[in-house]
């Protein structure tokens, strides 16, 4: 059977299957030349792939054959030497060495497949290769862009600031300091900023570095006595994106080096972007002179995404996987996993994997089944009692006031905060929340939630309280 048929099969299956499935299972196969025009022998690299393809894709390949030739075809599977799938090649290609400072130590360009190109192609490949190597050195993740970042009330200010900085690096806000709880998308945002700058100017020298890796660079420079090289490298950047700066706490030498790099870069009007899990003044173990410099530019917060935004995030992530996620399934996940985007993503992965494994379409029923354990584990985490106790302790009132009829501001406001948190952090119904707060009506709960949601927009102290309480309850 001709290779032409196998090519048809490949393009049909590529269009039908999610990218990852296609790369893993279908691209791993190759067609063995056979004399019989009505048969196709496919070679799989190992028994595991063979079995998987036989169980899940063989029938579909036969159907495509039937469509193609207008008659049944015989498709057989065997184990044989086949080229490994492209996606796997990417994964198993020699990985970059650990981050090392200085262009002299910069990682070599990733291997580019060499074929029988003519010299023109080679020269184009070489230029692409050098651009690709320069991009690799930025340590940016191509998938994290402004387009793939879902925007909502929780992050719109941070996003707008990041976009402005990306348009005018070094001149708008320097540094841009982004803070927020764990798993809310800080890293995505600064990668997006870096990618936008790169897109405008591929010659810009950009570096994303996690604070832990910056620290490791300092240690390495110390051990190898290469501080000059280290300093030269970090001061040569046009854009430095440094993630999770709270990890600098009590690392004096690292802070010292960063302080000097910071001064040199800002003096040269080069852009610095910093993320942190908390407001600059609340970071512990950081020198005052460093903290005061963080105030030079703009400080923006990323808050936990509200329900609608969580739904939008899920749909966006599903879209990347070429899966259509219906609203009911997205709402199910988003309503039950509230804490952060990472666990939201974990839950989505679970649903997709479950659907693939069982060869079923994604539906509400399937999602419930896939997430049964996960939801049970989450929902038993935060109880009304825990919320009431935590909020009472925080505002120094009695737990019994949570159930009392007292309406003085000093008691009513914490009670409203607790109701708001109960709605945000548990999947319970409003009537049951009202019941847990001294047998109140669900409209009282609704009123409390609306009041707190409105007040937090204008009242920074209240916003801070909610931030702290949420973190406390989740940790």
């Amino acid at each position: 059977m001709s290779n032409e048929f196998w090519s048809t099969c490949l393009s049909r299956l590529e269009a039908e299957l999610p990218q990852q499935q296609f790369n893993t299972w279908i691209r791993a196969l190759s067609a063995s030349p056979t004399a019989d025009p009505r048969s196709l022998e496919l070679l799989a690299p190992n028994r595991f792939v063979l079995q998987w393809v036989r169980e899940r894709y063989l029938r579909r390949i036969e159907e495509i054959g039937h469509d193609h030739f207008g008659e049944p075809v015989q498709v057989t599977l065997a184990i044989g030497n086949t080229p490994r799938p492209a996606a796997v090649k990417a994964n198993t290609a020699p990985a970059m060495p650990k981050p090392t400072p200085g262009p002299a130590n910069a990682p070599a360009a990733p291997a580019i497949a060499k074929g029988r190109e003519d010299s023109q192609t080679q020269s184009r490949a070489s230029s692409e290769s050098s651009e690709s190597a320069a991009y690799e050195r930025t340590r940016l993740n191509r998938d994290f862009t402004f387009d793939s970042l879902v925007t909502g009330r929780a992050n719109d200010l941070a996003r707008a600031a990041a976009m402005q900085v990306a348009q005018n690096p070094g001149t708008s806000y320097n540094p841009l300091f982004v803070y927020g709880g764990v798993g809310l998308g800080k890293t995505h945002l600064i990668h997006a900023l870096g990618n936008a700058v790169w897109k405008q100017n591929p010659k810009a020298v950009i570096r994303y570095v996690h604070a832990e890796d910056y620290y490791a660079d300092v240690v390495r420079a110390y051990q190898q006595k290469s501080f000059d090289q280290f300093k030269r490298y970090y001061r040569s950047l046009d854009l430095l994106l440094i993630d999770d700066i709270q990890f600098f706490n009590n690392k004096n030498r690292t802070q010292e080096e960063f302080f000097h790099a910071f001064n040199a870069l800002t003096e040269a009007r080069k852009q610095i972007v910093i993320t942190c899990d908390t407001y600059p003044k609340d970071v512990t173990g950081l020198e005052d002179r460093l903290i005061s410099r963080f105030d030079w530019g703009l400080t923006v917060q990323i808050e936990p995404p509200e329900l609608e935004m969580r739904v939008a995030i899920l749909k966006k992530k599903a879209e990347v996987e070429r899966i259509l996620l219906t609203d009911d399934v997205a709402f199910l996940i988003a309503k039950n996993l509230r804490s952060n985007v990472r666990e939201l993503e974990g839950a989505l992965k679970k649903v997709l994997a479950f659907a693939r494994f069982h060869g079923r379409d994604i539906s509400l029923e399937l999602a419930k089944e896939a997430l049964r354990d996960l939801l049970a584990a989450h929902n038993r985490q935060i109880t009304f009692e825990l919320i009431q106790k935590t909020v009472s302790d925080y505002y120094k009132i009695k737990v019994s006031d949570m159930h009392s009829k007292k309406r003085t501001r000093a008691i009513a406001r914490p009670r409203q905060v607790a109701m708001f948190l109960a709605k945000e952090l548990t999947p319970s119904s409003l009537p049951s929340i009202g019941e847990a707060f001294g047998g109140r009506d669900h409209t009282t709960v609704l009123h409390a939630c609306r009041t707190i949601a409105e007040l937090r927009l204008a009242d920074q102290q209240l916003n801070h309280d909610l931030h702290v309480l949420t973190q406390t309850l989740r940790s």
Binding site: N46, N91, T92, P94, A95, D244, G346, L374, A377, Q381
Partner: protein
């Protein structure tokens, strides 16, 4: 007369094909995929003691190596304070629930650096991500993995597991013996396997076949190892 036995046991190498799968087919297939291809990039397996976590982790290391990928089963961070991240390979780490501060910091760095090294992660623990008492930035990264609970085996599968385990030690265990043990012994897997070990040793020492009467004697005489906690 008692025969002294040498402490030599046939090694039972954990592999995918001697894992009694029970209701864990999806988890097993996903771990095989990760070991072989590095996809998905990270999996977290949780389950009670004896659920097969360690078996799958060790099997993944063996399988990855057989497929030409470097793989490490890390216990403690190395002298540099980090877990090894073989480029293009696999890092397995068990008992994430009981990591100390240094272990958590090392795991955090592994999460950050693994994508750059094209290294996949297979992590085991005794609780779902939401219940792990770990640093929040570590806990949520575990929650971002593809998560599977390893479901305990039902009695039928436990029987199958015990029969296979017996065979690996050269014992043909009668079905009656296995079902008696499942009815009378402690039913967690470590205790069951320990009972078979004791039966095997007693059988060799006393020159008696490993039959139900011998097992009964051992249990009645409290000669089986103490119950696993």
């Amino acid at each position: 007369m008692r025969q002294l036995t040498l402490n030599l046991r046939p090694e039972r190498t954990p592999r995918f094909d001697n894992f009694v799968v029970g209701a864990n087919r999806e988890a097993l297939d996903s771990v095989r995929l990760l070991a072989c291809y590095g996809q998905p990039q990270a999996i977290y397996l949780w389950g009670e003691a004896g659920s097969g976590r360690s078996h799958l982790l060790q099997a993944a290391v063996a399988d990855a190596r057989a497929n030409g990928r470097a793989a490490e089963l890390a216990k403690q961070p190395g002298s540099d304070g980090d877990y090894p991240l073989p480029p293009g390979g696999l890092l397995c780490l068990d008992a994430a629930d009981s990591l100390d501060a240094a272990g958590q910091a090392a795991l955090f760095r592994s999460f950050i650096r693994a994508p750059g090294q094209a290294c996949s992660l297979l992590i085991g623990g005794d609780a779902p991500p939401a219940s792990l008492r770990l640093r929040e930035d570590v806990r949520t990264r575990i929650g971002q993995c593809l998560v599977f609970e390893l479901k305990p085996l039902d009695d039928g599968h436990k029987g199958e597991m015990l029969a296979l385990y017996g065979l690996s030690r050269g014992l043909m265990l009668e079905p009656d013996l296995i079902s008696w043990l499942l009815r009378h012994g402690r039913r967690d897997l470590p205790s069951l396997l320990a009972a078979i070990d004791t039966l095997d040793e007693a059988s060799l020492a006393r020159h008696r076949p490993p039959t139900l009467p011998l097992l009964r004697e051992l249990m009645q005489g409290n000669l089986l190892p103490p119950e696993a906690s």
